[in-house]
Symmetry: C2
Subunit: 320 residues, 2 copies
């Protein structure tokens, strides 16, 4: 992908990391950034994620690749703004956390024939903003891809090549299936974490609770450090899936509660089964990565300094 | 604490780590180990957590310190067995995950005048067994202490000095308060993790779910790697607290669910509040540790290799 000109619209963690990764792969690529926040934009330039800052019109002029990496909540208005000034031949990708709504907006607001491929890199950190950007953020990660029905084949091939050049494994997924999956693996875990710390934080004994809380608590509350705006947008654009997932999860908690309350021996087998599922999941990931030649197990930086959210992904391309 | 002879009853992760930490602090200490599992015992000797293996009677003979570090479920029978052969002047400590039941057993089964101090180091790993033992496991951790009403003052002072010599911060707590606190910060988070992976693992879409699951999922399911037997014992000896905590947690989830379902702007403030609570918690820990001169933020080894459960603790000694 010999892009000479790339526009990144939204220069937060993901947009800036895309800029760094693109420039690491091809230093001659000229990356122009745009962000509603001038501060974000200046910091993105400061970390060299973009070569220069521009207005929306500047950024799009002659761009061969347009990456839309704002929070999902800002995308509708942005699509409306860019529609009349989008270069016809540019590949347009987004990196939003939910896909159904974004694809609907793209289909209805962007010009007919737009070379649009929705995307979602399954990588991130709880830290936000360009200062946390990392050229290697996508190495070994799964990158979900969801083209529009009318997206031409060559645009899809180009998106695959782009994602692979950033070190990620493309994973084609239907937008609604995507949103169901991320409700399970990301949005529910986030809400679980929020509920844990809030219900304890509101109690009079919170100070004592906080004093004895250690590793287990750190793991299960880590996601609360994520960007509240991002997850607020997610909760609105993926509401039905998240509600359904919460209901299923609460049912499971209630079943376990009942087993524990009645002192059932099934408690132990439930605990054993959970460990087995987890170990199989880890083994599957390690295997998928080894097959792809990625870093088998990327280093986890300290949870306590708020780094890492996870950048390890199982490659899987068994879909069209 | 110049112990020349120590008995460790139960040479799993915690017992073996105590052995290593004691011997690191005072190489001349002779540590004798006992475990119902001969394999555990041999491996504990293999990693030099104990100097020699013994029968229960051997291990206790002339011991000045007796550490009971079996799973809680095995402690009642063990107390019955050691009661007639316990050296009168030995300090007896346990390291069990729950305290009310253990203290009841100690009071009713151990000899009158026993120098018993219940304990619970807030440190661990999901890995189990002597091979995972670490002399530094307790560095910077909170170590809950719960003496019996009749425990003499000098035994309590001795327990404090011992815990400090292992690098931990003593934290005096009433047994029932302890069990309420650990239900919040450890037992509930574990059950949350089990429920997450089980309800997804039982679905037909689990293979796809597992493919896209990344960092957020890894954090929130990490605790499922813990020893199922340990948590089964916990669920039985801390049932009422765990049930109460699950009910409160489910209530909180249902409140959040309702806010999300009705598209309330309070969703965003709930998310913001959770992040603030978490950041304050981390800051409090860091501060407590800096004041004590501990390692400010211990390194987290990779979650994906199954290491670390967390060994960082806030010092707090404002209780008698």
């Amino acid at each position: 992908m010999a892009y000479s000109r790339v526009a990144i619209l939204g220069t937060g963690l993901i947009g800036s990391s895309v800029g760094l990764a693109l420039k690491a792969a091809r230093p001659q690529t000229q990356v122009v950034g745009y962000d509603a926040s001038g501060d974000n934009l200046r910091r993105a330039q400061g970390v060299k994620a973009i070569d220069r800052r521009g207005s929306l019109r500047d950024a799009l002029a002659d761009a061969e690749l347009v990456v839309v990496s704002t929070p999902v909540g800002a995308m509708k208005a942005l699509f409306e703004e860019i529609a009349p000034i989008l270069p016809t031949q540019a590949l347009v990708m987004d990196t939003g956390s939910t896909k159904t709504q974004v694809l609907d907006w793209a289909a209805s607001l962007l010009p007919q024939g737009v070379r649009f491929v929705g995307g979602h890199p399954m990588a991130g950190k709880t830290e936000t903003g360009p200062d946390a950007a990392d050229a290697k953020l996508f190495q070994g990660a799964v990158w979900c891809l969801a083209p529009l029905p009318a997206t031409p084949r060559d645009a899809i091939d180009e998106a695959v090549a782009l994602v692979e050049s950033l070190g990620a494994s493309p994973y084609f997924v239907d937008p609604s299936e995507h949103d169901g999956l991320v409700a399970s693996v990301s949005h529910l875990p986030y809400v679980m974490s929020v509920a844990l710390i809030r219900h304890l934080g509101h109690e009079r004994s919170w100070r004592e609770t906080a004093s004895v809380a250690a590793g287990g608590f750190a793991y299960t509350t880590h996601l609360t450090d994520s960007d509240p705006q991002m997850f607020f947008d997610i909760s609105r654009t993926n509401r039905d899936n998240l509600i359904r997932r919460l209901d299923l999860y609460i049912n499971e908690l209630e079943s376990l509660r009942e087993l524990i309350r009645t002192d059932s021996p099934d408690v132990k087998s439930a605990f054993e089964e959970a460990r087995q599922l987890h170990q199989d999941w880890l083994a599957g990931r390690a295997q998928g990565q080894a097959a792809e030649g990625d870093n088998p197990l990327p280093t986890t930086r300290s949870m306590l300094t708020g780094s890492l959210f996870g950048r390890f992904g199982r490659a899987d391309r068994d879909r069209p």
